[in-house]
Symmetry: C2
Subunit: 227 residues, 2 copies
């Protein structure tokens, strides 16, 4: 027993354990509350011990995204490109919905990791084997942008989640923002019994995705070429 410390009991710290703990902590407390110090604490370790497995916090964030990309379903083996791409992006979206902090972290990355590059490569492959030219695939990848990772690219997370305004404030809103009011009252009426919050996020995501995929398929059918 002599010389045996509490540490011996713990599973040895690995890069993978660090990254997974960071994902769990961000899920639980949000990305703003994720610090190297708090992460070390949840692992029962001194802060500096983390720096053996990640060079710095940037590399930690990169690694956390790699974990999430690993959760996205692999591409379906058979079927047309449109269905396969659609399926995979909807899978990516599910991952992002389970980790709401991910979109802001992705936004802050400057260089893709090998894991993200591999994901992008396989996504490009789905367009290419589907019959899109190299040039068209190139522009399509730009057009899809972060949607390829399941981003909804909404302007605000959930603006209509605010408590229902009283009549006086509603009247002011209608005067100042007539067009917004026109839409929100329509939505409130349509879905009063369905959803309390407002829009159907899944419908909106699929509407946007299909708008792009339909446009792309149209270009492919018309044999789009540069210039």
């Amino acid at each position: 027993m002599i010389g045996m410390t509490q540490q011996v009991r713990r599973a040895p710290l690995t890069r993978d354990r660090v990254l997974r703990a960071a994902v769990t902590l961000a899920d639980a407390t949000g990305i703003d509350a994720l610090s190297m110090r708090k992460l070390a604490q949840t692992l029962g370790v001194v802060p500096m011990a983390l720096y053996k497995h990640v060079a710095n916090k940037e590399e930690l964030l990169d690694g956390m995204l790699d974990v999430l990309v690993g959760e996205i379903d692999p591409p379906a083996a058979a079927g047309d490109w449109r269905t396969a791409v659609r399926q995979r992006i909807l899978s990516a979206r599910q991952v992002l919905l389970h980790h709401p902090w991910a979109s802001r972290v992705i936004e802050s990355r400057t260089v893709p990791t090998p894991v993200v590059l591999a994901y992008m490569d396989s996504m490009i492959g789905m367009f290419r084997t589907g019959g899109l030219s190299v040039d068209l695939t190139h522009h399509v990848m730009h057009a899809m942008g972060s949607r390829i990772l399941g981003f909804s690219q909404e302007l605000f997370g959930a603006p209509p989640s605010a408590p229902p305004p009283d009549a006086e404030i509603a009247r002011q809103m209608a005067g100042r923002y007539p067009y917004i009011t026109e839409i929100t009252t329509r939505v409130a009426h349509d879905e009063a019994s369905v959803v309390g919050s407002g829009c159907d996020d899944q419908f909106e995501f699929e509407f946007s995705l299909d708008l792009l995929l339909d446009g792309i398929e149209g270009l492919r059918l018309r044999g789009w070429t540069p210039r």
Copy 2:
């Protein structure tokens, strides 16, 4: 002269002066280097003096975005909806290009300010007066998402800006990411004399924007209705 301090010389601190100084500082040093303390320093003021004009840093960031939205051109008076929307979004994009930190700040906002609401309202108005139904306009606003503010929604800022890899690394890349390589070599060949860095960002942005606008105009012409 007695009792006259250095402060008397300075223009009095206003909310507007605080916000504009913050924008200038973020432009010059990046958003990560923007702190309440450094901002106060550039204004020749003690940090706590800022809190008379903004409640906290969140409100400062909101206000900075309001300044940028104010730089976007107002909608063109005449013309079809497609041209007017296109023009205005390209104007918003120019603003974002001049303030590269803006996209990450927008991403971090949770509630739109009155200034942003007014911008969204006028954008919705452009679709409505162009002949889109309330329902279609609603979904279209979701589909446009942050692109309405000039976002490119690219996955990474400038991935091909890396120094040209040597032959050995290039061979490894080609083996690991064959589809990415297929595109990047094509781009490098096409634009070798035009652009050193890689893609033509303006072209890619307009390609994506037109893909969406064409799709939307198609739905309008076909008289799209829900369900």
